[in-house]
Amino acid sequence: MLIGNYKVSYAADQAIFRTPASRAWLWVLLGVAVAFPFVAGDYFLYLANLVGIFTIAALGLNILTGFTGQISLGHAAFVGVGAYATAIAATRLGLPFWLAVPAGGLAACLAGALVGTPSLRIKGLYLAIATLAAQVILEWVFTNWTGMTGGIRGINVAPAGLWGFEFDTDRRVYFLVAGLAAFHTWAAANLFRTRVGRAFIAVRDRDISAELMGIDLFRTKISAFMISSYYAGIAGGLWVYFAKVVTPESFPLSLSIQFLAMIIVGGLGSIKGTLFGAVFVTLVPEGLRAVVQGATAYSPDAMSWLAPMKDIVFGAMIVGFLVFEPHGLAEIWNRIRRFFWLWPFPK
């Protein structure tokens, strides 16, 4: 319980910042994000871009899985749909990036609506398997629809440009990624203060009860799929301008699993948690790489252990969080915060 946090109106209770301190923290975070590209090295900017893109994708997955309760094992495929749509719009139609990326979002959104259609009839584990099928089938389409996707050779895309300014280095792409990531985080946080967003949560908690309360189940589930895939599509579009090339093997099932790991490690149904999860899951393998590289000083063939170690740590991380901290990093953060709210009084 937060001391001295007394609300007298509904508006105050629904406010996105519950205390002035959390508003201040957000400004600090934004300040750090803006200052980051001016001080960080290339490698860290590359990682920051990766984290930013994954944040947008993971937010989409959390909207669908964490907030609406629809499990998706095909999220990476939607990122792929967005990436291919963006690349095709940019190369064939010659659209500038500020039209091509939304086009990717829109294409993924439509694909999401299509895959989400059965969600009224099937749910839970069955839906998970249906989205797994979507992942396998879409991957097959990426590889084999050579006329459109360029097959395994993929599509090369020129850097994004705006009024003669080229987003050609990771430092410049960072502004694009960070801007869009911030915007989409803000949008997601506000989504759950609207009727649509509240309906998502009601459907997650008990879909039949939600229906009795006048929520149109089909529309709600389809909207969740569409919004979620739109996020994935935007992430895919950014991926295109980040990697400058789209190939089918960039969107495997293991990436879908990685997105799921992000929202589980971060916290299902938590916007803040999604950010934590995207950062954590992206950086842990990099930290591991650093450790293993350090170990080469003692044993020269340590690098050959990197791949299996990554698998083991990744799996153990998922299992560990699920067994010991099912609400993820967001809950750990909240516990620390609660401690300081009460401090110096004991719990």
Binding site: L73, I129, D311, I312, F314, G315, I318, L322
Partner: protein, 295 residues
């Protein structure tokens, strides 16, 4: 005509192996409600156990099978006790992800212990191809298929005729009542993981004999989803029928659709297209239980 027959027969052979894998999956789902995404990796571990017994310890094949079964049983029991039991009653997403996490751990461990390269079993069966009328089967498909069939028959007998098998069926049917009748539910959960792991290990050996083993062998595990969805997630008979049907479908798709989409691996994706169609039409499968929700 002979061509069709050949496709059908190799389809049945593939299907028999799918059925064996699917049975292990269904046993766990039926009694504990867990969708086991680690089935493929349990197969891979079992195959490596058997391979080690044969290639390193130079045991005969039958002994190697026993070693694989024992090793897999230990892994299954451990996994159930340490990881799955605390997860009982959690949301589907958590349970799915915990088995996915386990599969990643198993894959990593296998790479550490056995390395990443392909290995093949020493020659076990006579090399002469088996001829059934006009159809010719390579011996390394025919014999493993027989092992799969034997394992399925053995499992069916276990469920049908033993006291433990009856207890497991009772638990799957109605947990509360079974508990009331004095059946030790925890033991049944543990046993179903052990059984599933042993089944997976046998299936792994079979697949390993046909195609060689590596830590990537677990990828076959994904192919069981079309099988179990067709048969019904909680039906062992369904797993059998589903396995055979999907095996045949896959081989027919490989035989007749591949020329239309050359070099695209249409064989791998066809079962998943079928899966989507089945989910649209009859999500509980041919023989599964239709879930009815009440508030």
């Amino acid at each position: 005509m002979d061509e069709l027959l050949q496709f059908l027969v190799s389809g049945v052979v593939t299907g028999g192996i799918y059925a064996l894998i699917a049975i292990g999956f269904v046993v766990v789902y039926k009694s504990t409600g867990v969708i086991n995404f680690a089935t493929g990796e349990l197969m891979m571990l079992g195959a490596f156990f058997a391979w080690t017994a044969m290639a390193v310890a130079h045991l005969p094949f039958a002994a190697a099978l026993l070693v694989a079964a024992a090793g897999a049983a230990a892994v299954g029991a451990l996994v159930e006790r340490v990881v799955l039991r605390p997860m009982l009653g959690q949301r589907p997403i958590s349970i799915i992800m915990v088995t996915i996490g386990l599969s990643s751990v198993f894959k990593g461990i296998a790479q550490v212990v056995w390395g990443g390269e392909y290995r093949s079993f020493p020659t076990i069966f006579p090399r002469r191809p088996v001829e059934l009328g006009p159809v010719v089967l390579p011996s390394r498909q025919a014999w493993p298929f027989l092992i799969a069939v034997a394992a399925i028959v053995l499992l069916a007998a276990l469920f049908r005729f033993t006291r433990t098998g009856t207890a497991m069926r009772a638990t799957a049917n109605d947990q509360a009542t079974a508990f009331g009748m004095g059946i030790d539910i925890r033991r049944v959960f543990s046993l179903s993981w052990v059984l599933a792991s042993v089944t997976a290990a046998l299936a792994g050996v079979v697949v390993g004999i046909i195609g060689g083993i590596s830590p990537q062998l677990g990828a076959v595990g994904l192919r069981i989803f079309p099988v179990v969805i067709l048969g019904g997630l909680d039906s062992i008979g369904g797993a059998l029928v589903g396995g055979i049907v999907m095996g045949v479908l896959e081989n027919l798709a490989g035989g007749y659709l591949d020329p239309l989409f050359p070099g695209t691996g249409v064989k791998e994706v066809a079962p998943f297209v079928a899966l989507v169609l089945i989910l649209m039409a009859r999500p509980w499968g041919l023989f599964g239980t239709r879930e009815i929700e009440r508030l």
